[in-house]
Symmetry: C2
């Protein structure tokens, strides 16, 4: 019998209990032992809940109970999750978490602590919800040098962009609708500004590099500036717009960013719609592989946490290799990144723009008078910024990925 | 230091050596030990090859060498691979294989043998080449009841169908071209008749059921009967045609098949083109997730074999759980499977067909006179066969998947 505690009985925490109950027979067969959720920590009471009698308000009861071998940390946020996780690991209890903020901020330290104490700190649910991506990187693509990861890592923004594309609606309208449907938070900043995707690409980059990425150093742009007009141009070019989190190994460091990008409609990532997420991984011998699924949601996220519980229960007393050291990864300055740009320009600045950007094919849409669009040649961010300063009539620009 | 032997220095076997050499530093870091390929078994000599001095012609040297702890079986076919694998496992040597014929035929037995002798029999490369799918099913989706797997599991047929769709060419012409490019074998039967995909879906079904599927019982149709006209109708309906391997858990058993299917263009599997493969997995709490990548090829397949080597080297002397027992899986009779059908019918049989199939929307293409097409309502294979017998002018039929 393996005894478990769940910290936080919110969406994911209650999902963990639900997944264990629903698939108990299969899960216990795979573990080879019975599982019991002994405690659920929450500040609230849950009268009438089948787990009512397991609810505790004091974390000490869990952390000091030697019977508890695995802890599901589904609280979110840095504190008190960080303190509880450290204390659990120090007591030799494995921790399975869906907490991307904590993993992005203290992953290396918590993994090292788990190694020291012969247990595990697992975080499959922290990136891509129900998409198995952490375990494939750690356990499956072990013969590969992963040279690039490109992901659609945030379901809220992908839902919003998908609706904008399909309905021609503007960002604010679709955001409001997404909030009503529960696809976006009341305070949507972490999603729509790209901060959530930034933490996730930081975690993935740390795993492929085996060292720590400071997520604060990753250039991050959200989708609040994307307009229906941008989608009109994209459509005219056979493209769509996605918020892409990218990390690429180059000779002198990793180039990581979160930015909206125009993609050709026929590339696999362009077809990831609505709340689905996907991670495309390029290895030096494998070529491209892609992992696709629900990026969020109660049960998909909980299923990922429980898959970590199964792994911990199969390996009690044994640390599983996860190479993510505290040493920092060198990130290349974002200004050195190269891409093409889609530019929307006012008609009145056409001569100016021609002089700066040279000969380009221009796209004029009947619906949009007084402006035109074009694609630049590939250039660094720095070069583009230099050109941008020289023309006054640039309405907007979006990076282009071929 | 972990010593390895490679059985068979053909495409995959030489790829295994290449992947180990190319990514040696990373791989050894992940294993935590050095790796050495001590022997390569082949009937041929390879004068001038950097591994010339490791080539042996006698399997006994490998099987009797206690230093060899891991064997990569990249020979293909049942014998002598089966005998060598058994002897290796009995000697406590782990075996990593790309041999789908052997895994489909004797998987449960070889896994049980590895468990008995405290080693491992791993076969990531046997399905989906470079797509990590075996390990995700065994180690990542462990909290799930997997209720359905749908795969494009054969690169040759997917390449042929993709070319037929894009170029309007017929099967024979495209097959010849694929053979010239090395995408199809001189004897293409195993691919184009669906036998290869059949073995792969048998392996995947065995893994999700935890018991053995007899691949001989899986209804299998290939793509040799698919015509350019079928693609013309598909296009008119916003669909394409793919060879799908499907396995679905129903109340009274699994329904497994390999058949060409018409898919809507916007579903993720419809976009898997050329030599790419994909496996879509539906879990009871996770919903749909999909794994996409190169289904074959020297280095992708070898990378999968080497990822198994890494796992074995990390777990020397320890058997990793893989639930696949010898007990047979009950497969439902194919005749009980339900789907819609696309039917091509001669004009002259229209009255007859109307009487049998009832009112249907008819598709008439200007280019194809004297015939029309329609989609049936959902019905069992048995019902469809009964109706088929009652009309004389049916040109062809393809199952439809929504």
């Amino acid at each position: 019998m393996v005894k478990i505690a769940v910290l936080g009985y919110g969406t994911v925490g209650s999902g963990v209990v639900e997944v264990i109950e629903r698939n108990r027979m299969l899960i216990e067969k795979r573990v080879g032992k019975r599982l019991e959720v002994k405690y659920v920590l929450d500040i609230r009471d849950f009268p009438g809940d089948p787990y009512e009698d397991r609810i505790v308000h004091d974390a000490e009861r869990i952390l000091k109970d030697p019977e508890v071998e695995i802890i599901c940390e589904t609280m979110g946020g840095i504190e008190p999750a960080y303190t509880y996780s450290k204390r659990a690991l120090e007591a030799g209890k494995s921790v399975c978490t869906s907490n991307k903020e904590l993993v992005a901020a203290h992953g290396a330290e918590l993994i090292a602590l788990s190694e020291k104490h012969g247990c595990n700190y697992l975080f499959e649910a922290s990136v891509g919800g129900g998409i198995p991506i952490i375990r494939p990187l750690n356990c499956a693509l072990t013969a590969e040098r992963v040279v690039e990861i490109t992901g659609i890592l945030n379901g809220t923004t992908n839902y919003i962009l998908t609706r904008m594309e399909k309905d021609g609606a503007d960002f604010g309208t679709v955001l409001k609708e997404a909030q009503q449907k529960g696809y976006a938070e009341r305070n949507p900043e972490a999603d729509v500004e790209g901060y959530d995707a930034c933490r996730k690409i930081a975690i993935l980059t740390s795993l492929i590099a085996g060292r720590t990425v400071d997520f604060g150093e990753i250039h991050t742009e959200g989708i609040t500036g994307i307009t229906p007009e941008d989608f009109q141009y994209a459509r005219a070019m056979g493209r769509t717009i996605k918020l892409l989190a990218v990390s690429r190994e180059e000779e002198d460091g990793y180039l990581a960013s979160v930015t909206p990008c125009m993609l050709k409609k026929e590339v696999p990532l362009a077809l990831v719609n609505g709340v689905f997420n996907a991670v495309s991984v390029r290895g030096n011998t494998l070529g491209e592989s892609m992992f696709y699924g629900k990026g969020a949601g109660k049960l998909p996220t909980a299923s990922a946490v429980v898959s970590d519980v199964v792994d911990c229960a199969r390996h009690l007393g044994e640390h599983m290799v996860c190479i993510w050291e505290d040493e920092p990864v060198r990130l290349k300055p974002f200004e050195e990144g190269v891409s093409r740009f889609f530019v929307r320009m006012k008609e009145e600045s056409e001569a100016e723009a021609d002089a700066v950007f040279g000969p380009v094919a221009k796209i004029r849409l009947q619906e949009l008078s007084g402006e035109y669009g074009f694609l630049t040649e590939p250039m660094t961010e720095r070069e583009f910024a230099g050109k941008h300063r020289k023309v006054s009539g640039m309405i907007s620009r979006i990076r282009v990925r071929d």
